[in-house]
């Protein structure tokens, strides 16, 4: 992880993303391996000695302390002088627009305000690394997008490294510099959001991000015999069993299916999704997800359609 980077750990429940966070924070001990920060091993240090901040999922604000005392808590542990504490806490609260609430108790704040108190409480000690456990999960949908962008702005302003755990792929793609996708405790792929979305490395990543179609078949001479169609990706494919990812929005309706990179299919279901139509079409025993712009007239259920896509849209999966 690079200094000042915003890294997202993305995975479903049980993928080990929270455990990884707790390992870095020191609440759990690794069975093997080391945790390095700037080349130094953190493993022997108890949580309170690590130069790592953490924002908890439920925020873990101290209910008996005021907002000011919550934010000042870490500075007091560090033995910072009183005047300095007051200055830094005021500054931190001002950064998130909470100067007015300093005397209130956590239960008198709104969800969004609590979230910001938890954030500045973890940041005010200026940790080199801040861990965020589902920082937006407890917020209303309407608040989530705006707060996420604020989070990224604060990360850029402070220059601290952020490690955010989330199960929401849109959140991870929108906020992080790089995203690590975890599958059952293993790292499935680590890449920038764009690379992750455009070039998933494995079936798991392709399905997890954006619900891509994964087409299986046997490759021979860079052509894959897929379900009822011939797939010719732009890149070379080694002979043998192969799988490619194809994003639903990259599939077009055409008048007649081409011999390669196209297929004749039967529409089994359609759903209106506001900005797009989702069309499920069956071909060669496989159901394809196709998204069409909302402006276009959708095919009727049961209709025979011809689908086509570009060679560059096929991503060869290696795992």
């Amino acid at each position: 992880m690079a200094p000042g980077e915003f890294l997202a750990l993305l995975g479903g429940s049980g993928s080990g993303k929270s455990t990884l966070l707790r390992l870095i924070a020191g609440f759990e001990a690794p069975d093997q391996g080391r945790i390095l920060l700037d080349g130094a091993d953190l493993s022997p240090l108890p949580p309170h000695r690590r130069p790592v901040g953490m924002m908890f999922q439920g925020y873990a604000l101290f209910p008996h302390l005021s907002v000011f005392d919550n934010v000042a808590y870490g500075l007091r542990r560090d033995g910072v002088a009183r005047a300095e504490i007051a200055r830094r806490v005021d500054e931190a609260l001002a950064m998130v627009g909470l100067e007015e609430t300093a005397r209130r108790k956590p239960h008198q704040l709104s969800g969004g305000q609590r979230q910001r108190v938890a954030l500045v409480r973890a940041l005010v000690r200026r940790p080199r690394l801040l861990l965020l456990d589902e920082p937006l999960a407890a917020l209303d949908a309407g608040l989530r997008e705006r707060t996420g962008l604020e989070l990224r702005a604060i990360q850029r302003a402070t220059g601290a490294g952020f490690v955010m755990v989330t199960h929401d792929q849109a959140e991870a793609l929108a906020l992080a510099d790089r995203v690590a996708v975890l599958e059952q405790g293993r790292l499935a792929q680590l890449a920038t959001p764009m690379a992750l979305y455009e070039r998933p490395a494995s079936r798991f990543v392709a399905r997890f991000l954006g619900a891509a179609n994964v087409l299986e078949g046997r490759a021979s001479g860079s052509v894959i015999a897929g379900p009822g169609c011939a797939l010719r990706p732009a890149e070379a494919v080694p002979d043998g069993d192969a799988a490619v990812a194809l994003r639903p929005e990259r599939i077009r309706l055409v008048a007649a299916a081409p011999a390669e990179n196209g297929v004749a299919a039967t529409v089994t279901d359609i759903a209106y999704r506001g900005d797009t139509w989702l069309v499920l079409a069956e071909a060669g025993g496989t159901t394809l997800r196709v998204t069409l712009p909302a402006g276009a007239a959708p095919p009727a259920q049961g209709a025979q359609v011809a689908l086509a896509w570009d060679a560059a849209s096929l991503v060869v999966l290696r795992g």
Binding site: R50, G53, F56, G58, F62, P63
Partner: protein, 277 residues
Amino acid sequence: MRGAVALPFLWLLALVAAPLLILAVIAASTAADGIPPFALPTGWQGLADNLAVLADDPLYAAALLRALVVAGVTGALCLLLGYPMALAIARAAPARRPVLLLLVLLPFWIGFLLRISAWIGLLRDEGWINGVLLALGLIAAPLPMLYSDGALLVGMVHSYLPFAVLPLFAALTRLDPTLEEAAGALGARPAVAFWTVTLPLSLPGALAGFLLVFIPAAGEFVIPELLGPPEAQLVGRVLWTEFFQNRDWPLAAALALALLVLLVPSILLFQRLEARA
């Protein structure tokens, strides 16, 4: 639905409300020879007279005060001993908690009087502790331990300890464990995290535990009778003597009423704590 309310309501009116009302009426009566040994009150004068007797006679005031002090010390000792126990149980693995709780509660199943009798057997001059100390040559003559304030407090704490442990345990398990982790992530050593986060947040539970010991302990009269010093009487014993031996019913009722009034703030505080938890 109506029956669900009516039946217990009538029962409670008859066996809780009516007795307290009668207690108040008799506390306002004047003592008289006869059966029953009092004359019904004519006004508030009787109650005022009875309360004046309680206030004037040092025996009654001292018995009330002593009972409150003993109950308070018992409550404080129960907290001191019970807090580490409740904390250890709350921090134990969830599968082990029921076993530990049972270990705290099981000694109570043997019965209150038998536990007190065990303490008599341990503490008296020819008792087990003196026997062991004599055999070890640590003392030359038996230490007089029974019938002292110390013996009284030992017996009280032994009897009331679970009343303090249970609310403390409930309060400690209700605490969000991530709060201490958050304190750790903010640089607090475990001891500091406990002192600045867990302890202040468990204070309502501690207060509830204290009151749950204090309120019944204030009226206790069996343990002082069996273990405590004979000359210094607590209010429960004095009340018993006034009623059954001196047959001064109005005075005994006034004494009960005085005890009740002194405890009302504690009772209300306890109920507020319970309602909030």
